[in-house]
């Protein structure tokens, strides 16, 4: 059957399909074929081949986060979106852009810059927009511009059965029908293949500056964050960097007109106190993940007002399990990332206990702990997604969209 399938995949992609190599494995699970469709129609044709032959499919963008989530429970076709890389339309006057899923974020930003515009997501290097949507990436700019889901105004997807569906449109205001784009955001490839997205854009700010202040203790950080959010200084980002428990920095990004930013920088310095300093550009850690490939990567959310409970919980769990935890994130939004560096003597049990302890305390900070990434042995030892509200509803949705469980099976919450 193998050759016959490859022939079908080739036919579907104008010859852009081949047998998979070792490097095409997804989180340790080998694929059998790689198919690289060039447009939505070819993507639909690939999904029809998969449907006919009951093949499991995992979509791949730039492949930077392909290990996130659980490994797929089965995998036949790696659907590579690298050729779906066109910027279809940039309507500068309407401040929207339509781009294909494989288009890299840095390429897109570079082209928007000519019109003094940007997609207000933080520069995420070479990740693709499909992967950014599917993993619901979050970064510092979210404080003032919203998350991926808030900037996404339209979407084209291919369903598990090969049917093409659109939702939303290309206008910023639109309430016609269900918003499938939001449903697909953060779906990790389990509901459909995103082939095209429409985003609203923002003007590049004329000026910006960053104020930083050392802050490490939960109470101190909380106090500063509260001062900032209740002020009328409208920071564009408020980020905490806490590489070790007593070496923290709080950074505040200000954006606007040159005159306005100058004034607000002065006022922010005054608000935060004598130890605060300002600079024209953000510190090197700004917007970067506090972990490397292969590390244990956590996403922890919290109620803004319960930040001290979270920071204390992290500290306590870290001490109790002897795991050094690097923390960074958007403390005025409620999303933190945390990394546990792994080396030769990775203590799987200790990592599992760390995650358990943080989840145990979740009620105190009102959030959740997701293990975005971890070495396979760690993932096998714990539930990477943790408790999920509304899981039955999610299962029902998955069952409607992909009853045969062909799309990224097993990767998502509750085994979806």
């Amino acid at each position: 059957m193998g050759d016959a399938v490859l022939d079908q995949l080739r036919a579907a992609t104008a010859d852009h399909a081949h047998a998979a190599a070792d490097s095409d494995a997804v989180d340790g699970v080998p694929a059998r074929w790689v198919a690289a469709p060039a447009d939505t129609d070819q993507t639909a044709a690939v999904m029809k081949v998969a449907a006919t032959n009951d093949l499991a499919v995992v979509p791949r963008g730039a492949g930077t986060k392909l290990t996130w989530g659980n490994p797929p429970s089965r995998l036949d076709v790696l659907l590579d979106t690298g050729r779906l890389d066109r910027i279809v339309e940039h309507a500068a006057g309407d401040m929207i852009v339509i781009a294909e899923a494989g288009c890299r974020l840095d390429t897109l930003q570079a082209s928007l810059r000519d019109a003094s515009q940007r997609l207000a997501l933080d520069p995420s290097g070479h990740g693709g927009i499909g992967g950014t949507i599917a993993s619901a990436a979050t970064g510092p700019s979210r404080l003032s511009y919203g998350a991926v889901r808030d900037l996404l105004i339209g979407l084209t997807m291919v369903r598990a059965d090969g049917v093409v569906a659109n939702s939303g449109g290309k206008v910023v205001k639109n309430v016609a029908g269900y918003d499938l784009a939001k449903l697909l955001t953060g779906s990790y490839g389990t509901l459909g293949i995103i082939t095209r997205a429409v985003f609203r854009l923002h003007p590049l700010p004329a000026a910006s500056s960053v104020v930083t202040i050392p802050a490490s203790s939960p109470a101190e950080v909380h106090d500063l964050v509260q001062k900032l959010i209740h002020s009328q200084l409208t920071p564009a980002g408020v980020e905490l960097d806490l590489p070790t428990p007593d070496d923290g920095t709080l950074g505040v990004l200000l954006e606007g007109t040159p005159n306005g930013v100058e004034g607000r920088t002065a006022r922010t310095l005054e608000l935060l106190g004598a130890r605060a300093t300002s600079s024209a550009t953000p510190p090197p850690w700004w917007g970067r993940e506090p972990f490397d490939n292969g590390d244990v990567a956590l996403k922890i959310t919290h109620e803004i007002g319960q930040l001290p409970s979270l920071l204390s919980a992290i500290d306590a769990a870290s001490r109790a399990t002897h795991q050094a935890v690097q923390v960074r994130g958007s403390v005025a939004v409620g999303t933190l990332l945390a990394g546990v560096h792994t080396d030769a003597d990775l203590d799987i049990d200790a990592v599992a206990r760390l995650v358990d302890a943080l989840r145990h305390d979740a009620a105190s900070y009102g959030g959740s702990v997701v293990v975005l990434d971890a070495p396979p042995a760690v993932k096998a030892r714990l539930d990477v997604w943790g408790p999920v509200r509304g899981l039955e509803m999610m299962r029902s949705i998955k069952h409607q969209f992909d009853p045969q469980r062909r799309l990224a099976p097993g990767r998502f919450v509750g085994g979806i």
Partner: protein, 485 residues
Amino acid sequence: MSIRGLADELRSLLGEERVITDRQQLRTYECDGLAQYKVIPALVVLAESTEQIATVVRACAEAGVPFVARGSGTGLSGGALPHADGVLIVTSRMRRILEVDVASQRAVVEPGVINLHLTEAASPEGYYYAPDPSSQQVCSIGGNLAENSGGAHCLKYGFTVNHVTGAEWVTPTGEVVEIGGKAPDSPGYDLLGVLVGSEGTLGIATKVTVRVVRAPEAVKTLLAAFRHIEEAGAAVSSVIGAGVVPAAIEMMDALAIEAAEAAVQCNYPAGAAAVLIVELDGPSAEVDDQFDQVQRICEENNSFEIRVADDDTERAMFWKGRKSAFAAVGRISPDYIVQDGVVPRTMLPEVLHRISELSEDSGVRVANVFHAGDGNLHPLVLFNDAVEGQSDLAEEISGAILDLCIEYGGSITGEHGVGSDKAKFMPRMFTDDDLDTMQMVRCAFDPDTISNPGKIFPTPRLCGERPGRRQGAHPLAEAGLAEIF
């Protein structure tokens, strides 16, 4: 079970006074803000708690009886239009603001809470609830959630969906589910993303957690008058093109101004073919800088008079004309249709021109009021129902305007929703496959289609087999190694 049987059951479960079956009383609920559609519900329940709503929904599910949620009934698409053989579940007794948590910048409210009341509750702390539909003095947060309502200030601050972070939800099978909360990004699919804007078709919100926003340091408002509507349109494009993101840019044309003058004497500059209201808010220095820029742009586009509001009273005067515009056209026409469509904002001048052609060719007057910054048109199509044929003609023009919106790459609704009114237009904007896919979500939540049936989708989808409960359980959970709940 018959409706009468259901009424008896609900009476015994909830108490006499919460269940209405008297025909005269039922009539109060026969329509929402779109009065041309009227249906008398079989019975009405005035719910007071989540448990009561869940009880009613469960009873409906068991009896196979449809139910429709209703907040304040101000919807303009017939979303809360009752079902003749169904139960109307009214939330107007669920008006408690449960919590305003300023430290976390969130509020938790019952679904019947009036939009403006939340802002009033948060304002002593210097906070407010940002989405501000013109109906904010009466509409409910539950209705806002269901319609994903917008308002003049949504240009900068986003719509309801950008402000809801959690909900307690009664599913169409009567289960109570917590979704999201005060923290962002709860793990799993973005259920709130589809529930907000689902127009009552996926169940009922019984509690809503929303963001509250710090009030801006400065607010500045100007009113600019133009002799030609194209000039006003060009000014809007230039403002946005200059990288300014105003809190609001609203436009009214001559006919809308005439109506507003007749109704509320807003005293806009005489002889204007169009006025713009531009509001900027934020830090003082930025607002000042950009306000000068906006004024310059209006002058460059031949505005013949620019007024700047010196205080809140003057600002309120500017807004009074705009906010009363819908009702005001009642002064210049016995009947009217409020249309709601969207076009890419750069297409505004062209689309306005096409609308005026439609109006001239048919002899049907159209007044234009709109959220110009995001291309959201509210053409008011004027007619006299007493004159034979006028109502049909007005409907035709109203529909033709939506076709224009679609032709220019826009939408058939920017904020009022599809409801009963626009279901028939959905196939003009979406393919059968698009609609089929949306309805897969419907099937996931409401396989028997009892939650507000007949709204949004012109033809229901057959849902097929039910999902198995244990489908796709995590292997660890299955093996008892990890806890899912």
